[in-house]
Symmetry: C2
Subunit: 341 residues, 2 copies
């Protein structure tokens, strides 16, 4: 099984991406990595590392996708980029199971959707980050930005895809599904929510728990939170903003305080580090693009080698779990699938 | 000027509400407070406090609105409740400038919208919390839950109302306005956003800065963030959820750690307290319901005496600033109003 890696996507590319690929190979066996990007640069960087050459390959790609590129155009204007060549190869090569990129979300989404087939029964692929919960578990937020405008039918499919994901990848036996809303009561929500609610209630093979407020996303009461891509993006980014602000406030206040606070900080440093690690969703790999024939993982733009290594291993696990096959079955026959899981 | 207070709304009513009213009178002059609720209970509670009796009045109301009441029905089913009697009085009494309630958001919104006139030119009143920013300032988020489904025309009105609010209450000379979206580029957003963007760009008398991502709401770069009530609610509640989770994680981790962490915590306690105070939006009073003939402040359900006192003083300030008159002028003639502000 090959995991393809866009070596030239992300703020720290190609150095950290290449280093991350090498680390992933050391941490886990069972797959090969193919680095897409300028051959000479990659070779020069690999000289600094020790690795199993029988598991690491290079596919030359002379161009780089930048944030200035129009995401929907790059499949034509940047045919020789590391991203587009990687996704094309993912679509063609039967042994290529997944692709990891830390490049621009828009570019990854647009080229994947244009170049790859969808899973049978899926109308809209969705972006799915896995977030840490207050109770030490994980929650999948679907969709988080692939589809700014959704219909009720899309949201129901997201629920099925999310449920299959939570079963196969997060290890939840009977994933509890919540619908993100502005209140917990059945009649709450905007028009889309109110239309979707009864469909989720009636849907076979889903453990639907009803509406939830955004403050409960991380509560640990849900394995999957379903929402349109616009709302999901707002929930995710608002959470990120507050976490950044809180850590920044702690730092600012300690710097502005006297020796007492500085000593306190030194003593508490291990606790802060642990929390930062829990909250850092890079530790959970990247966000999955779910619903296409092959797995795509969109790692954070600021990914370091460590997060790339986690994302590659995550890609391998998702591909090994045969998630896509399970999504296809579940959408074709929800009841049958429930009985056999 | 009278500030009306729903003494029986909120988790800590009536005790903390009554105490908060007494505190507000001590902290600030220039207004009277009228407490709505069961006369005997209020009198019995007031025995425990010292206050200026010439500034504190009681209006008897025998019923209480609960979370089980259907919000849109209470104007008929709970006519004698502290909330409905308060809002009716606010509409009739020319000397009543504002009402503060910590009761159910749905009940406060529905009865205010049903019983009070709107400001001329406003089609939809909006709920506006004021949040602390990373740079030590404030940002108004409009709408935060009064209107789950909005049109582009509503969002443009929110921008005008928010701008007038930031000028008169937050003291910003030329408030910068952002449109909450899933990316900063002009073409980002869902259908509603893409329709609204050009209207805000062309709108006279608004300092429109473009789209912003939810992670930048608290950045300090915006005085007003405009969004539909569904998205605003998600941004607000997601932020709340993460803040609660972070403080909880810090606590959990310290409790689970050894003496070193506990001493560190004791030394850092003043810093944590300061941050908790900054983040606690109760310190900014409550959320304003903007767009009605009189000011309504929805205090947090869990408000203590302190937050009620802040909310009452905030109500007095908003009413004194003649914000409603300014909104009416701005909507009638944006250009003229800009020149004279």
């Amino acid at each position: 099984m090959k995991i393809l890696v866009d070596a030239f996507g992300g703020d720290n590319a190609p150095k950290e991406i290449i280093k991350g690929a090498v680390e992933a190979l050391k941490l886990k066996s069972g797959f090969e990595v193919v680095l897409f990007g300028d051959q000479e640069t990659i070779k020069a960087e690999l000289v600094n590392h020790e690795y199993d050459a029988s598991r690491l390959f290079i596919e030359h790609a002379s161009e780089i996708v930048t944030n200035d590129d129009n995401p929907t155009m790059i499949v034509r204007t940047k045919k020789n980029s590391s991203l587009v060549k990687g996704i094309v190869s993912l679509g063609i090569d039967p042994d290529a199971a997944a692709l990891v990129s830390a490049g621009s979300t828009g570019a990854v989404l647009a080229s994947a959707v244009l170049l790859l087939k969808r899973i049978k029964g899926v109308s809209r692929p969705a972006l799915v980050p896995v977030l840490p919960t207050q109770t030490g578990g994980s929650v999948a937020l679907i969709d988080c930005g692939a589809n700014a405008d959704c219909t009720k039918a899309h949201l129901v499919q997201f629920a099925y895809m999310g449920s299959a994901f939570a079963k196969t990848v997060l290890g939840s036996m009977d994933p509890s599904i919540g619908l993100l809303s502005n209140g917990v009561e059945n009649k709450k929500g905007n028009e889309l929510n109110r239309e979707t609610f009864p469909l989720l209630q009636e849907a076979q093979g889903l453990n639907f728990k009803g509406n939830l407020e955004a403050r409960d996303i991380l509560s640990g009461n849900y394995d999957v939170v379903v929402c349109d891509g616009f709302s999901g993006n707002i929930a995710l980014k608002a959470s990120e903003g507050v976490a950044v602000m809180l850590f920044d406030l702690i730092k600012q206040n300690i710097l502005a305080s006297g020796l007492r606070a500085k000593i306190g900080y030194l003593l508490l440093k291990p606790v802060f580090k642990k929390i930062a690690k829990t909250m850092d969703y890079n530790n959970n790999g990247g966000a999955l693009l779910l619903g296409l024939q092959k797995t795509i993982i969109k790692a954070h733009g600021s990914s370091t080698a460590k997060s790339i290594a986690v994302a590659i291993i995550q890609a391998y696990k998702v591909a090994s779990a045969e998630l896509n096959e399970k999504i296809e079955k579940l959408l074709a026959d929800p009841v049958d699938e429930v009985e056999h899981v």
